[in-house]
Assembly symmetry: C2
Homo-oligomer: 494 residues x 2
Amino acid sequence: MDVQELLHALRAITGPGHVDARDDVREEDTHDEALTGEPSVPLAVVRPSTTEQVSALLALADAERIPVVARGSGTGLSGGARPVAEGIVVCFDQMAKILEIDEQNHVAVAQPGVTLHELDGALRPLGLVYPVHPGEMRSSLGGNVATNAGGMRAVRYGVTRHHVLGLELVLPGGEVLRTGGKLVKSSSGYDLTQLVLGSEGTLALVTEVTVKLVPRFAHHATLLAPFSTLGLVAAAIPPLLASGIAPVILEYLDTGAMGAIVEEAGIELGIPCHVRETTAAYLVVVLESARADRLDEDTESAAELLERHGALDVYVLQPSAGTSLVSARERVFFVAKALGADDIVDTVVPRSEIPALLARAAQLGDQHGAIISGCGHVGDGNVHLSVFQPDARRRHELLEALFRAARDLGGAVSGEHGIGTEKRSYFQELEDPAKISLMRRIKAAFDPNGILGPGRLLDTPLPQAAAASGRSAAGSGPSAAAAGWSVERSSEGR
Amino acid sequence: MDVQELLHALRAITGPGHVDARDDVREEDTHDEALTGEPSVPLAVVRPSTTEQVSALLALADAERIPVVARGSGTGLSGGARPVAEGIVVCFDQMAKILEIDEQNHVAVAQPGVTLHELDGALRPLGLVYPVHPGEMRSSLGGNVATNAGGMRAVRYGVTRHHVLGLELVLPGGEVLRTGGKLVKSSSGYDLTQLVLGSEGTLALVTEVTVKLVPRFAHHATLLAPFSTLGLVAAAIPPLLASGIAPVILEYLDTGAMGAIVEEAGIELGIPCHVRETTAAYLVVVLESARADRLDEDTESAAELLERHGALDVYVLQPSAGTSLVSARERVFFVAKALGADDIVDTVVPRSEIPALLARAAQLGDQHGAIISGCGHVGDGNVHLSVFQPDARRRHELLEALFRAARDLGGAVSGEHGIGTEKRSYFQELEDPAKISLMRRIKAAFDPNGILGPGRLLDTPLPQAAAASGRSAAGSGPSAAAAGWSVERSSEGR
């Protein structure tokens, strides 16, 4: 099957208006938000409208050994949605319906292209919430499933994995499976839902997601506590959590990150100069409650507890200032990008090891001539660091040493962004080869021909038939280059 | 390798005192607590003390194609720990240490043989709790991992799956892997922890478990609300949960189950006769709080809410009566067993479908001349029914129809007990063959020779070499029979 035949077959499945051939691929479909990695133009971007179409697409792709990359909103940070030049992208923006909100079971059923913003809008009037809020509410539910997205509220509510109850999946070959359901528990076979969660589009394509909802609380308070060391921030977390006050957000920001986000957002926190001078890190605590009186009590208790555990001071922000600060924190990635960050990491360690990890990060920054600054989910051990070092080789050395330090502290490369294409080399270098090998066998159980997401997560090669076909990226390179962006010669898949 | 050679090899690994040959196998090691299924005597029961020994055992078993069944405390209810006559049992009661309680990260690390009771005793003085409490606190942590155990508190805290952060695993062949860690989140490859969780010993043996802990709350209240229909109970659950009051227990009991447990426990609930006469089901609500004043407020709010939603009355029990009632409810299985129940089921449906499921159960009971009575986790859709029908064929027809009804309502065969050997036929009959086939491929990725738990969950055959060896069950049947219990001729594995 040459490229024209492929396009014809794709259009027969989805209708002609839902297939962009290489020359017509939109610029935004050639990359995600990862700071590294060149854009890559696929043979085609296909926008199915139904599960049946996805099934037909995967049957075709599997038979023809065509690499398939799934795309949600393209807001990922690890290259997970970056096209394979020799393959197709299946974009889910036409499968973006909320299918059901079940108020009896506190469950929502949605297509993968639904954004968190859309889902939140539908749930708000019902007093319910899907509580996983990664920084980017334009992200799609399917993308959140692919990366097991987390976010600031994970300290209270957990991550995507803890809220997805069921999936509709399409396997390579086109088989459609339904896993789980409106069930908060089941012990009836291997948990395929959990296995596909966080598999970054390498095992199956997700065509429907069932999520658990929780009550939406009306009352929120934001506390801001400067500390003279990050070690003191980390030491305040266990007693705060043990107290029974269950914060919805527990973020630390170093002075660099705090300075950048308040400047970008134009927020004036009103912290006196003499406090700022001795501050090394800020802790932001957001509390929530169904009752205003309890929120006030908890706010007071938390403030006292933080002061007792070494906070230089504790500020209870006005509601609007609290909201602004949290919003500004959510935009930290874009602030870092605007300031010219060369890469970001979201490595995770046991929460008590955050100070050790960041001490090591500072050391590595010095050694490699890099600025490293950031913030993170201090209740979860998940740090978000911006790395400023334009030299790719030095940056790679630095990052590998940093991820190695995280691993040696009991951590993992990524807490919530996923490995994608951009962190794959680190993951492959640092993960236990026996586990990688087991993961490859699991992948083969789902995708024997290796068509799904080659080059993401695992360094699986391109499916075998592709190289011999008339579909290689090089063949149509010139037209793509003429369209104004570079054709990536597939660092994936090697 | 004949049986003598096998015993010699096993004793060389664990030391001679840790291997019981067939003739010396303890009666209690020949079964679990499942009401159905005959006891079965294995070739040997081995009690390793270290991960290295488990690794050596699995290397041997894999090379020799010897079936291996894992055993914790033997409190399972689905035959998961029932020996394969042609194989060995690896019993974890010598690997029962709590290795670490990490108060900084709110994490405990323990060997699989630790019982929930032991773990709870160690955590109590620290103000922390591992909140998954299936009815049986003598159950082992490893067994809880195998079945993804749940229990009454799942409505607030979730099930085992939601609290296990990491595992040490031994694969067939002897490879040792560590998954996860003291990490509440990770997006770094397929979640092997979650995949092994609930896999009932068919993918790997677990030699270490890392669990998340939560604060232990000091104050508890128990409310008891009789309702005239189960439909009204079910209808009261969504508003109760949406209110923001987060009950730690939400149980319904039908009048039969309530009568049986209060009689067995000698509890007098003091419910007037005229209320009892119109009661069809009881709702038990347990609330907890770090603060006595909030507990009182929540108790009052919950009582008002239940009255508003159709409770015939609401009784706030004295603390001692509340504790007694919850303990009595935890013993419901043993009460059913003592009363002669022929089987129990723990099927799960979307919680709003409990009344429909139980209406169908009553209908099926009438059709098949069976008494069906029970209780369940009404916040989770998970019912526990005792089935009184001694005729195996009629009972099988009834149960298959019941599980089919559950499936058609969007449910699954087991909510928390697992499939084991005893519910396997139903699971195989009712589950999507495409999913079963995928699960088999996943199993093969872990256990290519099929030595782990043949006949549990999936109807995998006995490993190939076993039939041709000199180790068949029939060969040593007489001595086992002489020891006073029947040798099961392996309905597993066919």
